[in-house]
């Protein structure tokens, strides 16, 4: 199975990199972009076939290492 994890800064946490990308888009003439948030995606190859168990296990991995839940939130997709 593959687990795909999206990690984003929590709402309200200022994202300096996203802001810089938004400015760069404006400088290139792309008008109408009012906000950019930058995050990251991790893809894990996971052994087994039990989707629920895999999701539980990946959630623990997120809480213990992959995300810093002080400033970040995450979503998990198992396929």
């Amino acid at each position: 199975m593959k687990a795909r994890i999206h990690i984003m800064l929590k709402d309200g946490v200022l994202d300096p990199q996203g802001e810089a990308v938004r400015h760069a888009l404006g400088a290139l003439g792309f008008s109408g972009v009012t906000g950019v948030r930058q995050g990251k995606v991790l893809e894990l190859d996971v052994v087994g076939s039990d989707k629920d168990a895999a999701e539980m296990s990946v959630k623990t991995m997120c809480d213990r290492l992959l995300a810093n839940t002080v400033i970040e939130k995450y979503t998990i997709e198992i396929s």
Binding site: V13, L14, P16, Q17, A20, R64, L65, L66, N68, V70, I71
Partner: protein, 222 residues
Amino acid sequence: MKAAILTFPGSNCDRDLALAFEAAGAEVVRVWHKEIALPEGVDIVGVPGGFSFGDYLRCGAIAARAPIAVAVQTHAQRGGYVLGICNGFQVLTEMGLLPGALMRNAGLKFICKTVTLKVGDCDCVFTNGYAQGTHIQVPIAHHDGNYTLDADTLSRVQAEGRVAFTYSDNPNGSMGDIAGVLSQNRRVLGMMPHPERVADGAIGATDGQAMFQTLVGQLALA
């Protein structure tokens, strides 16, 4: 007074930190991150600057889960002293020993320069060598020093007098201009500036010396 200085792959201020403690009279033991215990009788753990594990995933994230991490957390929970500088500060927030997180500098650039710090009105062994409100010159060298915490925690940290140092001219966007913050028991300090780089008269600047001398002097009595 015994100091344990940690080394992770990618640490690069560990030797300077060890020398600063030694010059102040401490017995220094260097500890590799794969150790699972601190040496007997350690008074303070120094977590040095650098780029532990290449800053992969998040700055300090992997170092904070290294084998030695559990021993450092236990040491802190028992009331032991910990000093984290630069990457060491990032490691301590990732370990959960200090509140908040260090994000990319607001200006997005790596900043390497000497800055002016104001000593906070906190009563702690790290700053007792300075008069409160004194200004000192200490270098910074970081890409991710933008100290971020939620509004409630920020006001609590300020109200409890846990801000050890503030920037006079905020270089990186840190909330409350915070350059160094203490744990609730005031025995864990994390700071982005490098006092160990201004602790030797031979290099012409000594504003960091008082921190190490006071630490060594007061912990030797304790």
